[in-house]
Structures are given as structure tokens and as C-alpha cells.
Symmetry: C2
Subunit: 341 residues, 2 copies
DNA sequence: CTGAAAGCGCTTACAG
DNA sequence: CTGAAAGCGCTTACAG
């Protein structure tokens, strides 16, 4: 059927040398292997003339490197994750790596599946925003010493490389910002998830309130609830707690649901109800009023991830460190959904 | 260094058969090859016991299939594209394919690079939202008969499989919707790009106005202009044309820039200025007022893409058709940024 | 019913 | 300075 591909074997034949020589020249080992200039030119010319393209599968099989980085996040369509992926893609391609990019859907099973696929594909490095219940598998990766960076969340007991944002400080400051604006009954709307990033956010909220002697009020929304259900729950919560005058949402999409709820109830922001979202959103500045948020530094996160990953990739034989957690400060984006005292 | 991987060779040894037999059993060819039930069990047991994981590089090298689909779009972080990618990822993984997902940045050079990388990686199928100036390369792909689907835009002269939305009808209806709402001076804000999808949108706009005998007014914004510049240009345009009472934006991000411009100028939507965006946005329903848009059917697009791709992948030897363009109807999302007569 | 062996397209230690 | 050859981990036509 298909015409056989043009390979280094053909170049070797055309130039009249061995495939070894061709391989050396094509991989920039000419000087190291002291290939004559003349031969180099002939080989390069033949390669170009015939439009030679290396077969990465073959290359990968013999070197043991696929030049592929596997990255898995909750949903590849999530704006926060995809802005990070965009940066990672960029940095990876600069070094000749490709990105396999997948959604865990926050499901343990789906993640295990993906992990298996990644292994089979022989990805060279892993970037993972881990879902709950995946400790065991992560531990396995760690044991097999593959380059790995966890981000957004991590498993506190595992000696891994992690990149996170100071979740506690973010919520602490958000809460203080509410207080400074004159809000007196600040509720936290969060998920019923026990993952560190969430418990940290709750801690920040609680700490700020405690310092002021204000009473906390936390409403947990089920993790897997569909959007309409979330909105319904938040509506009910607002109606049941008329004295609440500010809502801190622990994730972006909770904030979106919350804003819908507030719109349904026709409450004024921030007059009747102040709003802050943990995690910024591309369009929060276009809302009326614009929505104050705690932004995660996308660029900083991407850079930290790649920094940790390259160090492992470059240094497979002498890993300097076996664990490290980079904690980045979040950024309070002050906009107009909080009262100003 | 690293322990050698456990391979089919090891299974073969452990069970005392040849690698051929192991390969047959592991690939479900037991009955076809009439492998004894006993041997099957032994092989499967050994594979499981030792946690055997196939090496896709080796598999790919010998079968010529990588089980990877390459998908390139303008930016992987774009919400429209990433919702589609999300669907595609899902459908692909159901059939054991992985997704290599990349940004063309709408640059011809970047795209050529990616195309080279995809070839080298031996991707089995291509899904591309082509940037301008890439006809020649697409033609090359077509000639080499690799499974390929173009979407969002395509090259009209090329016999390829394409999935697009009826751009002309979308803008036609949007314009008629403005007219029905009582708008009388409708301007089109678009890009200075000659790509089909854009010229089609312009045609729809012009046709609707012509039918009503209303004068057209088109402002082109440079394609590569950064966001602030776009906003500035739109502000200038609005100020220079005080009689304009409606703005049709030919892309999502132009609409965003436009809304910013309108907010800066403190014009009322839709009282002073009606707004419709081509391409919906996740949060347009949360804006005040909510923004009317022409939505592209993400699910329908993804399904059509995969349908065309599977047909080519399944049917490499007898391709039924060599070209086909699926045109999907866009959906007018009537919200509150247009007057109602 | 099963195996020996060639082949996929590269790389690389080794020899000369 | 260059080549012969083994090896990466799999598949598959062919033979028996």
C-alpha cells in the first residue's frame, strides 16, 4: 500500500555510509564522533533532499524517551487549568517535548486509567492535579522515580514536588477584606471535599473571623452536584440566612453558581451581599458589578511547575532533592463586589 | 540503573511459550489463532501477576499506529476550542486513542512546526482549525492520505473533510434580530482576516441589511492587535459614529473588547447600543445585561468531527468519500443586549 | 495449535 | 574517523 517511509537507512545507502554515521550527524554528534565535514554535508543534503523525518516511535523505543509530557487536570476545558496548560505547552515545546493533556474528571478511577495510559505511552514526565484517593498510585510513581510534579493540590504525606498557592492566606485576606469593607456576617460557601487545598481555604477564613471575634458560617455544597443543584442550594442558603451580608466562595465555579443565585433572588451586590471568589475568572472584571477575587498566579505556577520538572528530567541520575513544595502567594483582585467602608 | 521492564518476553519465558503466542493472547487473537484455553489462562495470569504493561512505542513501531490523535487549534486555552477538545478527548479515549493538543497561535510557521512534530510522532489522525496560509501543507497531508478533519474554518479549494457552522446564516439571523428589535444603524466589528469563516460572516450581515435597504458599516480590527489596542480602536469607532445603535461582533473576543469599550464610554446596552456576539461565552448570561449571541453547537461539532475521523481511521483502505463538509446550524441565544420592539 | 525469526526505524557500545 | 551489529519491545507472515 503506502510507500515505505524514507529512513536513515536510505540516507546511509544514498551517501554510502552506515546508519550509525547518519544517526551521529543527524543528532549533532558529528564533532564528538569526529565525522568528516564532507560526510556531514552529504548526509545533511540527502536528508533535506528527501525530506527525511525521524520516527519518534523508533527513536523513543531505542532511547527509552518519548519526549512526551503527560499532564492531567480536573477538566481540560477549565479556564484556570487551560491557561496553565497553555504556558506549559509553550515551555515544553521549546525543549522539544509534546503535551498529552487529559481530564481526570476528579475521578479516582478515571485517573488510574490515565496513569496506565501514560505509562504505556512511556511519557517522560508527569504533571498532575491529583483527585482524591489517588495517593497509592502517586506513591507508586514516586517509587519508580519518574519525573513528577503535583500542582493545585497535593498529598501532604508524600515526598513529592508540589506547586501550590497559599490557599490559607488567600482566604484569610479575602475575609479580612470583607471585614475592612464593613461586612459583619461573612459566610463561606465551599465544597464537601476533604482535600488539602479546601481545608486550607477554610482555615484561612476561620482564622480571620476568629481574630475579629466574628461567628463563622460554613455551607458545604456537594462536590458532584450539577450546576442547577448548586444554584438551588445556594439560593436556599441565602434565604435561610437573611443576616448574612457577604459570601466567600471557595472556588470559581461555586462563585458563578452563587452569582446566579444572587441574580435570581435579586439581591444587590455588594449592598445586600458582598461577594469574593477564590480563583479569578477571565470575565469577572466585566460583570456588573465587577467581582472581587483571589487570583492564582498562572504564570508563576506554570514556571514553578516546569522548573521542578526540568530539574528532574535533566537530573535523572543525581536528583538533588527528593521533595519540595513551592508555595506561591495568591493575589487579591480588588474590584466592586465588596463594600468599601 | 533502572530495573529492566517486564516484557512479553518475560511472560513467554515464565509460561514456557514463544512471544508470538503471548502477543496473540494479549491482543485477543486467541480464538483466531486457536490458542489452547490452558495456555491463555497461564499467560493472562503471568501478565497480571507481574503487572505487565505494553510499551506503546514498541507496539506503535511495529504496527505503524501510534494511537495518538493530534489536534491543533488557535489557543488551547480558548473556551470554545477547549470545550470541543474536552468532547474529543472523551470520544477518543473510548477507542483507546490519546490526544496531543496544541496551539497554532494562528501562526503559519508555528503550525508548520506542529505539523512536523505530529508527523514525527506518527499521529494516526489530524484535527485542525487551520490558520491562514497553510493550504500547501494541508494539501500535502491530503496527498499522503492521513486521516484528517478540518474544523471551524477550512480551505475552500481543498478536497478535505470539514466541519463548520453556517457562519453566513448566523450573522444573517443576528442582523435580522437587531432589525426586528428596532435597531437601525447596525455596524459590524470584525477582523481584517480573509479566512472564509470571516468573509462568510460578513456576507450574512450584508445580506440582511441589503434586504432591508439599510446601509452597512464595517470596522476591521487588526488580527494581531493586543487586547488594549482592540478596545481603543473600538472606543474610537463608537465615538466617530454616534449614529450607530447596534454592534455585531464577529468573534467572541472582539465582543469582549467591545463590551469593555462600551463600559468605558458608559453607553447603555441595549438602550444606546445593541450588542450581539458571534460565538457564545460561558458567562454571557451573567453579564448585566446578559449578552445575546450566536452560539456554535459544541456537541454537534465534536460529534461531526469524530464521525468523519473514525470513518477515515476505520476505513483506511477503502475510503468511501474523499471529501465532505458538514455544516451545522448556529443557535441564536436571545438574551438582553438587543432592544425588543 | 504453536514457534522461529524477520522486521519496524532508530541508537550506541564496541572494535578497528 | 567509520562501520557491523546488537538491542529497544512489540507484531506477524510463514512454516510445521
Amino acid at each position: 500500500m503506502k510507500k515505505k517511509k524514507f529512513s536513515i537507512y536510505d540516507i546511509a545507502e544514498e551517501v554510502g555510509v552506515s546508519t550509525a554515521t547518519v544517526s551521529y550527524v543527524l543528532n549533532g554528534k558529528s564533532t564528538e564522533k569526529r565525522i568528516s565535514l564532507d560526510l556531514q554535508k552529504q548526509i545533511l543534503r540527502s536528508a533535506k533532499k528527501n525530506g527525511y523525518q525521524p520516527n519518534m516511535l523508533a527513536k523513543g523505543l531505542s532511547t527509552g524517551k518519548s519526549k512526551i509530557i503527560g499532564m492531567m487536570v480536573e477538566y481540560i476545558s477549565d479556564p484556570f487549568f487551560s491557561s496553565i496548560a497553555r504556558q506549559i505547552e509553550d515551555k515544553a515545546s521549546q525543549r522539544g517535548y509534546k503535551l498529552l493533556y487529559s481530564s481526570t474528571e476528579n475521578s479516582t478511577d478515571k485517573t488510574k486509567d490515565l496513569l496506565r495510559v501514560y505509562r504505556e505511552t512511556q511519557v517522560d514526565g508527569y504533571i498532575i492535579a491529583p483527585p482524591p484517593g489517588i495517593e497509592k498510585e502517586i506513591r507508586g510513581l514516586l517509587r519508580s522515580k519518574v519525573p513528577l510534579v503535583l500542582f493545585d493540590r497535593f498529598c501532604p504525606d508524600l515526598p513529592s514536588f508540589n506547586v501550590i498557592v497559599d490557599n490559607r492566606a488567600g482566604c484569610y485576606e479575602a475575609t479580612r477584606h470583607f471585614i475592612a469593607g464593613g461586612h459583619r456576617n461573612i459566610a463561606l460557601v465551599t465544597l464537601d471535599s476533604g482535600q488539602v487545598q479546601m481545608t486550607e481555604r477554610t482555615k484561612g477564613y476561620l482564622q480571620a473571623l476568629e481574630e475579629e471575634g466574628q461567628p463563622p458560617l460554613i455551607r458545604q455544597v456537594p462536590f458532584e452536584a450539577p450546576e442547577e443543584e448548586r444554584v438551588r442550594r445556594i439560593i436556599a442558603f441565602i434565604e435561610d440566612h437573611p443576616h448574612v451580608d457577604a459570601l466567600l466562595f471557595s472556588t470559581n465555579y461555586l462563585a458563578i453558581s452563587g452569582i446566579k443565585a444572587i441574580q435570581v433572588l435579586r439581591r444587590a451586590i455588594p449592598g445586600e451581599l458582598g461577594v469574593i471568589s477564590f480563583d479569578d475568572n477571565t470575565h469577572f472584571d466585566l460583570f456588573t458589578p465587577s467581582i472581587t477575587s483571589v487570583a492564582q498566579p498562572v504564570l508563576g505556577i506554570s514556571e514553578a511547575i516546569m522548573d521542578l520538572l526540568w530539574r528532574q528530567l535533566d537530573d535523572q541520575l543525581f536528583p538533588r532533592a527528593k521533595k519540595e513544595t513551592v508555595v506561591l502567594p495568591p493575589l487579591l483582585m480588588e474590584r466592586n463586589s465588596v463594600r468599601s467602608a
